[in-house]
Amino acid sequence: MMNKTNKYEVRMKSLLFSSFLLASFFAILSCTDDEKQIVANFQDLVMSDEFNTDGALDPTIWNHEIGTGVNGWGNNELQYYTDRQENVVVQNGILIITAKEEDFNGSSYTSARITTKGLFEQAYGRFEARIKLPYGQGIWPAFWLLGSDCDQVGWPQCGEIDIMEFRGQEPTTIHGTVHGPGYSAVGGITKSYTLENDRFDTGFHVFGIEWTPEYINYYVDDVLYNQITPADVTGEWVFNKPFYIIINLAVGGTFVGSPNSETTYPQNMLVDYVRVYKNN
């Protein structure tokens, strides 16, 4: 009887031990340093511009906004936006938006601001761009979305999703924000993301959001750095209707402050692609 019991115990122990070994083996296999966080799930591409045609932008996707808007586009920005190729052009697979220091129609700087208003608007989904940013005091590039009903209901009621905003004098940090009624301008719901051993003006980085009725996820490269839900906003959640894309490079303005003598020109924002996927 003793022998049988012992055999049984030993067999159990060795079985447990083998299981432990096997489990450890799989655990080690699955926990490698190469494992990256999955930051984006939506894979059904509905719109993209890879900027593969040299010259002017595709007019079926992009509009150009011209001039200084109202009060420097509402932000006391200093530049005059044009559609000239000096300020916005596609070359060698890259969209180049250039801020220049030059006297033009009463402004001291020129640059460009492009939108998909009336051409591509979508509610929810994944909006992503791969961009190499400029740098310097007072330089303010942005990749963002506006509610398509801004002309009807005004801002901030129409809502604004800032996928990426950047202050050129802080070359390692970008900001992701939503603005809406009750949480606009400096009251926007925002979070920043800072690179530890890198900066945004020395190479391309991917900036994107995944947006569903329940949340907006913000990511940079392979890092999910923020999620905003209806519970996080201090007002009405207005992100339940179509929005359009804006990409621009501003000089000066309330968000970034004015450029100074250290700022060098021209400053270039390089966009490799813009891709939009549907929410599913």
Binding site: Q137, P171, T172, L195, R199, D201, T202, E262, T264
Partner: protein, 467 residues
């Protein structure tokens, strides 16, 4: 017997295999060979020196300025402590070379934490002072502002690929140059090391302070390129400019038949014509350039004819010169460079970018009691602007030069100030200055000639007192 044969043949076969194998073993480099390099140790001081370091105070400095302190540290048990003496006692300055060279090519900055017992600016601080290489890769940050709180400082490496074999880990120089400047305080440095921050970018190197300089010149002239800097944008968003040794640059002459430039940024004019000198660091073009228009050999200066007995010569091939301390006093605020040029075998002094410069002779002073004039020959291609003033200073009997804050003589000093109003371009002009005015009754302890303003670039020859 059969068995024995089999054994022998097996042995022969075995030996044969060994032989073939041995012959085919070539001693070549395999793909895994790594060439020996120097250690890449980045730390210099943490709680003590790391990786073998020496301490070499600069000559004339207050050697006790540096110590390892344990009371005020940023982290850990010890820090580097620097006690800067009050004005008049001395200055603190030293280099800390590693005992053996290190490979720093993978890093992008020297970093450290620092604070001081009062707000203070460290005159000069950096790395790359290395007696073995004549400071080949020296980097100097000027006027580093310290506060009374620990702050992290970054000194960017101009081009790390040059630092594969560097011993100059860290150096500093700080002292009070006058009674009004800070002295008699302490600063501390901790966690001193090289790092790869990854946040340093947008290099903008510069020569000649970023200025495109145009200069007339002659063959056999030598011009040392100065104003050598590298500027980076740091992760903080601030720009940082450091002064750097010429060896970080690659220099180029657009016409080597007119001018050539050495690795140390010394330009030699070898022919007539036009040449532009430019530079770059790691493929990035430096702002600033030097465009030389060489007219060939310099026109010959006049040859003096006065008898030697009637002359006290400061600088002339026609006479024996008295002992001269210096042809350029290198006073603070002076931008003047002085080089020796030869033209047809005649020695000439070439002054460039002059604002004010002194020629000194106090060992001994010159007794010009029996002399009536100062003579000099001057050549310039510049147009005279404002006053070109030549000052002659007598230091009096007290044995020292006495000046007020504006450079005027005080105590027992006297001087004569002569304005040269006409200096035609492109030819030698003889200037003869009577020793009158302030020197009329006192000219037996002449100690100094000063050139102020007028033309920034000129040649002088045949400088002598005579009667």
């Amino acid at each position: 017997m059969k068995t024995l044969k089999k054994i022998y043949s097996k042995v022969y076969l075995f030996l044969g295999i060994i032989l073939v194998t041995a012959m085919s073993c070539e001693r070549g480099l395999s793909d895994e060979v790594e060439f020996a390099t120097y250690p890449t140790t980045p730390e210099i001081f943490s709680d003590g020196f790391v990786g073998g370091l020496d301490y070499f105070p600069f000559s004339g400095s207050f050697a006790e300025a540096f110590s390892v302190g344990t009371e005020v540290t940023y982290s850990g048990s010890a820090s580097m402590r620097f006690d800067i003496p009050v004005f008049g006692v001395g200055y603190g300055g030293a280099t800390f070379p590693s005992t053996g060279p290190r490979d720093l090519s993978e890093y992008d900055a020297l970093t450290f934490w620092a604070k001081a017992s009062q707000g203070a600016d460290i005159n000069e601080i950096g790395f790359g002072i290395n007696g073995d290489t004549n400071n080949k890769f020296q980097v100097t940050m000027q006027n580093l502002p310290l506060t009374t709180q620990w702050r992290k400082y970054v000194i960017a490496i101009p081009d790390a690929s040059k630092l594969t074999e560097e011993k100059g880990m860290f150096w500093y120089a700080e002292g009070a140059a006058s009674a009004t400047e800070e002295g008699g305080y302490t600063f501390w440095i901790d966690e001193l090391k090289f790092e790869k921050l990854g946040t340093i970018a947008q290099p903008k190197p510069s020569i000649l302070g970023g200025v495109d300089v145009n200069q007339q010149t002659f063959t056999d002239s030598n011009i040392v390129l100065d104003g050598l800097t590298q500027t980076f944008n740091l992760g903080s968003g601030a720009n940082q400019t450091v002064s750097i040794a010429p060896s970080y640059f690659t220099f180029t002459s657009s016409n080597v038949d007119v001018a050539q430039v050495s690795e140390l940024g010394v330009v030699s004019v070898v022919g007539s014509g036009t040449a532009t000198i430019t530079a770059s660091i790691a493929g990035v073009a430096a702002s600033g350039s030097l465009t030389l228009e060489s007219s060939g050999a310099l026109a010959t200066a006049p040859v003096p004819t006065l008898p030697a007995a009637d002359v006290i010569s400061i600088f002339s091939n026609a006479y024996t010169d008295v002992p001269i301390d210096f042809f350029n006093a290198n006073w603070g605020g002076s931008t003047t460079q002085t080089t020796d040029v030869q033209s047809n075998g005649d020695d000439i002094k070439y002054y460039t970018t002059n604002n004010f410069v002194g020629i000194g002779f106090e060992n001994p002073t010159i007794d010009a009691s029996s002399m009536t004039h100062l003579h000099l020959d001057i050549y310039t291609d510049d147009i005279i602007s404002g006053n070109f003033e030549i000052q002659i200073r007598d230091r009096g009997a007290n044995g020292v030069i006495d000046s007020d804050g504006n450079g005027n003589p005080t105590v027992d000093d006297r001087d004569l100030r002569f304005n040269v109003t006409a200096l035609p371009q492109g030819q030698w002009t003889s200037v003869d200055i009577p020793l009158t005015g302030g020197l009329a009754t006192q000219k037996n302890n002449l100690a100094l000639l000063v050139f102020v303003g007028g033309v920034p670039n000129f040649y002088i020859d045949n400088v002598y007192f005579y009667r």
